[in-house]
Symmetry: C2
Subunit: 336 residues, 2 copies
């Protein structure tokens, strides 16, 4: 029998914890035969949730952690002082090899700091970026770095490009993924200093499929598979993308409810829109992977329901089965 | 009689030049009694277009310019070498006081470079930013800088905030406009080095209504009146906003055409959507003003039709009538 993939899940993180997180874990073990899940958090609360479900008891184990880090805490202080928090205990399991991956819908700051301090970077990796899978009109793209390293340097971006390509190829299944650098024009002379410093490194790199600049206008149209930028820009892109879609939907709904005629029309178009909305729903694609660490760290939306947790478990299984950490190690070692 | 506001319009710039540009100029003089327009470009072409319309002949004058700068030319080289181009001739009229403002739908790069080199900055203004009026669910916001100065410094951003506030108050008519700095979180410690350097300057500034950080997610919802950032971030925001809206509309149209039922629904919702689309249409708000110069420079979309030119003329009239240049001068001098 194939060895089980071991995943630590922070049962206490997110707006819907622990109920939806536990539910997602149960759905995941019922869907995947090759996974063992450790639910990390307050034992009594998790037990109570688990009692509602039928599942293979041998493949979900509770790991007690008495503390919870909440979103308002300072990430560095919280990770350092709350050694018995669900995030720290879960991440520590990865560092100690007790788990292959960790999933949390908790504080983004704490997850990122913990990724660096608790899980630890692969030797040779200068910075560990957070990547996000974003839906486009053509499928999905990987936006990297979308939140971990502001003021990153060119050498960091080069590594992000490599790690993003490996992830996209092995976990998302896109062969020879194209990489483009976020820029404010396609011409050679365009860009800020970081773009100008990074461009030659990307051009010289033979292990990625670099296709040049991407203007943000083209991102929703799926211009490239890996969208490369430093974390300030990436975070602005990610949040604006979400915000524009939500503002648009809000205005749209208001317009549909504005008259009897439009209400009737709304009923008729509902089925056609359902599919479209599903395609544009980020939670269909699991969580945001933090790459370059000694194991996978997946950050799910704070608003995650069971579905996103279940899909994130699938992400972690593929990550482990395809030995993405090993591939990153080999790749980074080879280049440095 | 009140003195006429004099506006130089680059008749040769944009995808629809000269036809739509000339048409827009005619519409503008027919709408506004207090404006005189100089149409700058190839005399014979402009004359031919003008021949189609009825208007007050005394208020449109052709200024011949034999050359045209196209979008593919290097902006600095083009501005320096093509002294008889429509952009340079039109901008020179502002520098020499023959016009109060200049409008162009031509090469953005050339307009920006010409703004600095030909029109010239107001004394004390360190950098001249390009601002864009963007539609939100609550009305409009001013995004400044959306394309002129990448790698700007904190002192530049402070001036952008002041100039943006003056524009928003006097031209758009928003009293005591709120200003927020684009950031990747609302907490004090968030941000890149530029944000950290700029934040204290904005907090100390008594002449603006600074309300702190804005996450890009909130921009479409009209979180603040003036959205402040350096030009790399601003350009990414502007283009992603446009790109997301267009991708969304594309997917939406496809969904509506996917079945007979949804096609019927589409017919019913059409009138309700028309209003919504009009509200979200950037061309309803004229062009992007470049501020801090010895006169107003307005950059219209390359795809501008007559409507955007006509509205931009209205922008220029208000700018002049409210003496925005004088107010910027007074404000910058007072502070430096």
């Amino acid at each position: 029998m194939q060895e089980l993939v071991k995943i630590a899940i922070d049962a206490m993180g997110g707006d819907n914890a622990p109920a939806e997180i536990v539910k997602g874990a149960v759905e995941a073990v019922n869907e995947h035969k090759e996974v063992k899940i450790f639910l990390v958090g307050k034992q009594d609360l998790i037990k109570k949730e688990l009692a509602q479900y039928t599942f293979d008891q041998a493949r979900i184990e509770i790991v007690h952690a008495a503390q919870v880090i909440d979103n308002n805490e300072h990430p560095v202080a919280a990770i350092r002082s709350k050694k018995d928090s669900s995030i720290v205990v879960a991440q520590k399991m990865v560092r100690e090899g007790k788990a292959d991956a960790v999933i949390s819908a908790g504080s983004t700051g704490a997850i990122l700091v913990g990724g660096q301090l608790v899980v630890g970077r692969i030797k040779g990796v200068e910075r560990a970026p957070l990547a996000a899978i974003i839906p486009t009109t053509k499928g999905v793209s990987l936006l990297i770095d979308c939140g971990a390293n502001v003021d990153a340097r060119a050498s960091h971006l080069l590594q992000f490009a490599k790690m993003g390509s490996i992830y996209m190829e092995n976990v998302v299944g896109k062969k020879n993924p194209s990489v483009a650098l976020v820029n404010i024009g396609l011409e050679e002379e365009k860009g800020n200093q970081l773009v100008k410093d990074t461009m030659p490194l990307l051009k010289e790199c033979k292990t990625i499929n670099f296709i040049g600049s991407v203007e943000s206008r083209e991102i929703p149209h799926g211009w490239c598979d890996v969208i490369l930028c430093e974390a300030f820009t990436g975070n602005v892109i990610l949040k604006l993308y979400e915000g524009t879609a939500s503002a648009f939907m809000g205005k749209f709904k208001k317009a549909l409810l504005s008259s009897t005629r439009s209400k009737l029309g709304a009923l008729l178009i509902k089925p056609a829109l359902k599919n479209m909305i599903k395609e544009m729903d980020a939670s269909e694609y699991g969580g945001a992977p933090m790459l370059g660490l000694n194991g996978l760290v997946v950050k799910c939306h704070g608003s995650s329901k069971s579905k996103e947790i279940r899909i994130a478990v699938g992400q972690c299984i593929t990550f482990k089965r395809e030995d993405v950490t090993g591939k990153i190690k080999a790749h980074i070692a080879q280049e440095s």
